[in-house]
Symmetry: C2
Subunit: 602 residues, 2 copies
């Protein structure tokens, strides 16, 4: 039943031989890799306005210069990654670049930042996508958390089916979204040219003093636009040869489209005097003012929702891949390195869906609170990755290495500055959480690695003397005498010549009846009766086993528990759970093997 459901939802298993890389041309590659990055256009402008409006509507006039600053930042970071693509044609994620060039600790910090980032991308993008839907259909607003979680589950199932199939569905909506952005820009500037800017609305009073700090905080919010820009550099291997060249051209296109459309939305929002609103997104307000609530408006909202949900898919590819790399290095549980039966890292996908759904529920489907956490992680990874590249060029000392190093150094310095700006201006707005979580995660990585290292040492065969088993004592635990017990006694006799039966005396009548029957069914096996003044079965049995410890021959001792297996699950509740408790207790004692001999009932 469960298997059939799984097959229906995620498809038939695929053989290892089916794992081959689908190579992408530039047009579909741009679609796949840019959805995460492009989708941030849907909320980055809003993040700027949400901060500035605290300084009153007059402060909103600072949004264009902030938009330009972020546009420049996009250009710097993209140039920096252009170089990474050429230096790491096999894929240069921040974890690998930082680990190889800067050492394990920076690599793990980048890894922690990226893992957090992927989780937050899923939460933030889902919530923003659903916000685009609820802006168009306000009646759905109260149900946004349920819609968010449903979306995460759908994307999770799509990813459990495998990335090859999900690849196909990217191109149409991404280009549709880019088309919508062009439409929005054209329509916006046409509207401004022909009908002029609308009159400014009633002035919004300031809630906080306006100043440089607020501008920097608004800039920090807008930096969310850059999330996902590293995707191409992580996935160079997915391009058709020549991989690096195709990937870098794709990156350049992506950066251009991102920078221009983000700045355009910011400018249009400025000219239209948009004031952010909790129940409608900025993009929705802009589109509504330009096109009215007509077909074009709904088309733009739909495209925004879809691109954001595609961005979620990008994280579903990135998180499990990074987790599997870290698991292979021993920093995460090995289960993350297992390819599932559809050739995807199923455990990573499930964990990602679980954590991000919890965040969506906890934050009630509102993402503004999560964006500072998100941006600080992304820029930390950028900084470590670019710094790693500087070291890389310096180590290689190849032709024109100084020029290459300078480009990455600019990228590293700029993104480091942004990290500091975000950390300071958003510290009380949630950035402090990153300061706590990142070291804890790194500590966790080291602890896991230490465990695996110690395990290898303890399990090595070098100098190992196998234990002596010999005529090892076998103890059969007996309640009454029935088919299951006789079966267990037969098994015990077959595996050792040294069998003893023990029973706990809870009821003298039953015990003496057992002793009489014993002569008929197992006269060759001594039956030891244990007293139990406190009516416990566990205590006397464990006490007897510990006593036997001293007399045993060989290093191991076997305890046999006859168990009958009812045909229906609920019937298990009708039997004492003593066997289970006893097995658990024995697990923690060295040199004890506990065996359940099952006797199946109809």
């Amino acid at each position: 039943m469960i298997t059939a459901l799984k097959r229906l939802l995620v498809g038939s298993p695929m053989t290892t031989a089916q794992a081959r890389h689908e190579r992408l041309a530039k047009i579909p590659a741009l679609a796949i890799f840019s959805s995460d990055c492009m989708s941030s256009v849907a909320y980055a402008t809003e993040e700027i306005l949400l901060v500035l409006v605290l300084g009153g509507s007059l402060a909103l006039q600072y949004s264009p210069p902030i938009g330009i600053a972020i546009g420049i930042l996009v250009a710097i970071v993209a140039s920096s990654y252009w170089q990474t693509i050429h230096a790491y044609p096999s894929g240069g994620g921040a974890y690998i670049v930082a680990k190889e060039n800067l050492g394990t600790l920076p690599g793990l910090i980048a890894g922690a930042a990226l893992l957090v980032d992927y989780v937050l991308t899923v939460s933030v993008s889902t919530a923003s996508g659903v916000a685009a839907i609820t802006s168009a259909f306000p009646a759905l607003f109260p149900h946004r958390v349920a819609i968010c979680v449903t979306c995460v589950v759908i994307v999770m199932l799509a990813n459990l089916r495998g990335i090859r199939e999900t690849g196909k569905i990217f191109a149409v909506p991404t280009y549709w979204f880019i088309g919508c952005l062009v439409l929005l820009m054209g329509g916006g500037f046409y509207h401004l040219a022909t009908r002029g800017a609308p009159p400014p609305p009633a002035e919004v009073p300031a809630q906080e003093a306006f100043g440089l700090f607020m501008v920097l905080r608004a800039f920090s919010g807008g930096c969310a636009a850059l999330t996902g820009i590293e995707a191409v550099a992580n996935g160079v291997q997915a391009f058709k040869p020549p991989e690096s060249r195709n990937a870098s051209i794709t990156l350049a296109w992506m950066a251009f489209i991102l920078g221009s459309s983000f700045m355009a939305v910011t400018f249009i929002a400025y000219f239209f005097h948009i004031v952010p609103h909790p129940e409608e997104t900025v993009v929705s307000m802009v589109a509504r003012q330009i096109f009215g609530r007509g077909l074009l408006y709904y088309m733009i909202q739909a495209a925004t929702a879809v691109i954001l949900l595609l961005a979620v898919t990008t994280s579903f590819a990135g998180f499990p891949m990074l987790a599997s790399l870290m698991a292979k290095d021993g920093f995460l549980p090995r289960q993350f390195a297992n390819l599932g039966d559809r050739l995807v890292f199923s455990n990573g996908i499930l964990i990602l869906a679980g954590i991000s759904s919890v965040l969506l529920v906890l934050f009630g489907g509102s993402t503004h609170a999560l964006i500072p956490l998100y941006a600080i992680g992304v820029f930390t990874a950028f900084t470590l990755s670019q710094s790693g590249m500087v070291t890389h060029w310096w180590k290689e000392q190849g032709p024109r290495w100084r020029a290459h190093a300078a480009v990455n150094a600019l990228g590293a310095a700029t993104t480091a500055l942004v990290v500091m700006v975000i950390a300071v201006t958003k510290f009380t707005h949630g950035a402090w959480i990153v300061v706590i979580i990142t070291p804890l995660m790194v500590l966790g990585f080291y602890t896991i690695r230490r465990h695996y290292d110690s395990l290898r040492g303890q399990l090595t065969l070098r100098g190992f003397v196998p234990p002596k088993i010999g005529r090892h004592p076998v103890v059969v635990l007996v309640g009454g005498l029935h088919r299951g017990v006789v079966t267990a006694l037969t098994y015990a006799r077959a595996i050792s010549p040294n069998v003893t039966a023990i029973t706990v005396d809870l009821d003298p009548t039953a015990t003496s009846r057992l002793q009489q029957q014993w002569q008929e069914w197992a006269p060759d096996v001594p039956l030891v009766v244990l007293d139990s003044p406190y009516r416990s079965v566990m205590q006397p049995v464990l006490h007897y086993i510990d006593k036997m410890e001293k007399q045993r021959d060989g290093d191991y001792m076997t305890i046999i528990l006859p168990e009958f297996l009812p045909a229906k699950w609920w019937q298990h509740l009708l039997h004492n759970q003593t066997a289970l408790l006893l097995k658990t207790a024995l697990l923690f004692r060295r040199g004890k093997v506990a065996i359940s001999i099952p006797y199946h009932l109809d």
Copy 2:
């Protein structure tokens, strides 16, 4: 740690030899057995007024005749139980009396009604006790659910310690409560005599049409006063000899005090024109009007709260005892028949506390909704018990049996009539739930019994031929070669000459390394490599075992799983759970024994 906490909370274990009956004189016995019954004085009057007030304040004048009717009912039921005490000196609960005289089905119906009744007594009495506290201290009203659950947990712990110790704490508060009732009556009638009745308050408008149906519904509510009256009959064995005589005298006293104080409270409430209020109990309003918010008022409230919590204790004695009787008859899971290490039926106590706490939380600490369920169960048990007594006299045909039978027949007829009145008038107020739950419970009892019966048949040794084990095949599941695996191989060789190792080929490099090492460590054991196109471990292993099935010698086959046991619990999460999954899968296959050979890590 857990053991130490348990010892602190419930005390040291007690030996079976310590189980002796504490015999009670009449004075402490009255205290112990009457708390449940007496405590209903705290809410029974209120239940009458809550119905009548729906007919407007004029309808409240019908409370005195209803009170008198219930007083008569007390006398009839008490006379009926007087006879039960003499006929069943070993204790005649409704389950036993109905089962012995009327048959299994009526016995089980009575059992179901009583179990529900005990659960509801805990919920209703706790909630009423806490209502007495929150009436005196209205600031606590918002926290009533938390206070209720805390009280249940405290009473549960006291009962896990054992009834002997809890017995001591009964006498003082019960007599204190009786004293308070005398004080209330005296004060009330003195107030009326000297100062006359207070002027009637503003008239309350009618919400429903007043009529006979409403009077009967109010009567149904007031019947809650009788709950607990059967307690003495259940516990005759606890009295000093002559048991029956002492018990019946105690019953008479209890009935007299109950009837008179209930009627007195009803009359006083009538003369003082009390209108029920959701945040203050009727007893609290009466006491406040007579004594003001002074010391006497708080004393009465405290006594009410304490007696109600003692009533809870009565259920904590009754439920586990009844559950153990029914478990011994095979109608409930056997775990209910186990005496815990403090000589109490711990499982019953824990289950009772759990269910009643859930009810308290679900109903938000308000009990009025539960009282119809409660009363119908109690009166069903009364009816079945009294009918059983009629049959008993008829079967015995002893001296004056007709007179005895007539008394019980009157009791049975009256309580049957009350059951019908409650069922009809309260049907839409929750009594319908009883109509659903009781048959379901009885069905459950029969299902459990049928399972135990079938079990006995399937496990009988008559005609049993023990299975053949012989040179049974032992299969060792191998991942890589390490100390744990070599230990498992050594164990396998010791228990059978017919050992095979199997490994699943997930990584060709690792597999060929394993095959090379194999020659060094286990050249005598054949190593079978299983293909796994879908990278699953489970599927190929289960497939291989099913294939072996046909070739095996003997009826059993053993599968050995080497397991290493990390030193810390969280380290278990870092290892694949394949062994556990495999063991679970093997559990459902006949003739398979799965053995984990533990290798302990530091």
